[in-house]
C-alpha cells in the first residue's frame, strides 16, 4: 500500500483517497480488500496513474488496459488487480452526477514521509451515507459519531 501511495506522490497524481483506507487515516480502522480513489479526469492524469501503477508493480503490462477514453467517457470506474494479489484498486473519475475529484473535499495527511490526499471525514460521510451497501452505511454512522457530524 505504501509503495503505491509513494508512487502516486512521485508521479504527482491528482487523486483523493476515499473508502476504508481514508477512514484509517482518520482513526477509524477496519479491514478492506481494496483502495478506492477518485482521480482528476484528464488524459494527463490518467497517464500519471498508469506510470505510478507500473512503478509500483514492476511494469505490469495489464496497466496498459487502463484508458483515458474509458475513464473520461462511458466507464468512470476501473478496477485494477495488481500481480501482488493482495489488494485491488477502484479508480473513479465520477460517482453518479455529483461526486468527483473536484467535489470531494480533501486534506493532506502524511505516513512514513509520504504525502497522501485523503477525503475529509465529512466528505467521506456524504459519500457513504447514500450508498446501498450496509457496510458503507455502517461506516457513515461511525464517521458521524466519531466526528460529531450533523445528520443530513
Amino acid at each position: 500500500m505504501l509503495r503505491v501511495l509513494r508512487a502516486f506522490e512521485q508521479e504527482a497524481l491528482e487523486y483523493v483517497l476515499i473508502g476504508a483506507a481514508a477512514m484509517g487515516f482518520h482513526g477509524l480502522v477496519r479491514a478492506t480488500e481494496d483502495l478506492d480513489i477518485f482521480i482528476r479526469a484528464t488524459p494527463e492524469n490518467v497517464e500519471r496513474l498508469k506510470r505510478a501503477f507500473r512503478a509500483a508493480y514492476g511494469g505490469d503490462p495489464n496497466v496498459d488496459e487502463i484508458s483515458a477514453v474509458d475513464l473520461l467517457g462511458d466507464y468512470p470506474a476501473v478496477r485494477y488487480y495488481p500481480p501482488s494479489g493482495d489488494l485491488y484498486f477502484d479508480v473513479m473519475t465520477r460517482l453518479g452526477e455529483v461526486a468527483s475529484y473536484e467535489t470531494v473535499a480533501a486534506e493532506t495527511k502524511e505516513v512514513q514521509g509520504i504525502r497522501v490526499s485523503v477525503a475529509t471525514p465529512s466528505a467521506l460521510y456524504r459519500l457513504k451515507k447514500g450508498t446501498v451497501r450496509p457496510l458503507d452505511r455502517q461506516d457513515a454512522e461511525a464517521l458521524r459519531r466519531r466526528f460529531d457530524l450533523k445528520e443530513e
Binding site: M1, L2, A20, A21, M23, G24, F25, H26, G27, L28, V29, R30, A31, T32, E33, D34, N62, V63, E65, I66, S67, D70, D74, Y75, P76, A77, V78, R79, Y80, Y81, P82, P83, G85, D86, L87, Y88, D90, L95, G96, K109, V111, Q112, V116, T131, V132, R133, P134, L135, Q138, D139, A142, R145, R146
Partner: protein, 79 residues
C-alpha cells in the same frame, strides 16, 4: 466509547475500531495484512471497467463468492 454493542456478528466484524488518528493508517495497513493472511482471497488479474457503481459492486461480489468457494475444503468422496 469503551463498550460497543452489536446485534449480529456481521455488524461487529464490520464496525470500525476507533484509534488515535495519528497512527490510524499504519494500524489500518497492519489490520488489512492480518485479514488477508487469515482470509486469503484469489483475485483475477488485470483491469476491469464499469459503467456504474452497481456494476462494480456486482463484480466485486462475484469475485468474493468465487474466492470463498475455492477456499472451502473439498470433501473426499465416501468410500
Amino acid at each position: 466509547m469503551a463498550v460497543q454493542r452489536f446485534r449480529t456478528i456481521e455488524e461487529m466484524a464490520a464496525a470500525p475500531v476507533v484509534v488515535p488518528p495519528g497512527d490510524g493508517f499504519e494500524r489500518f495497513a497492519r489490520h488489512c495484512a492480518r485479514y488477508w493472511a487469515i482470509a486469503p482471497r484469489v483475485y483475477p488479474r488485470g483491469v476491469f471497467r464499469f459503467r456504474t457503481l452497481a456494476e462494480a459492486q456486482a463484480a466485486r461480489e462475484r469475485v468474493a463468492d468465487d474466492s470463498t468457494a475455492r477456499s472451502r475444503p473439498r470433501r473426499s468422496p465416501a468410500s
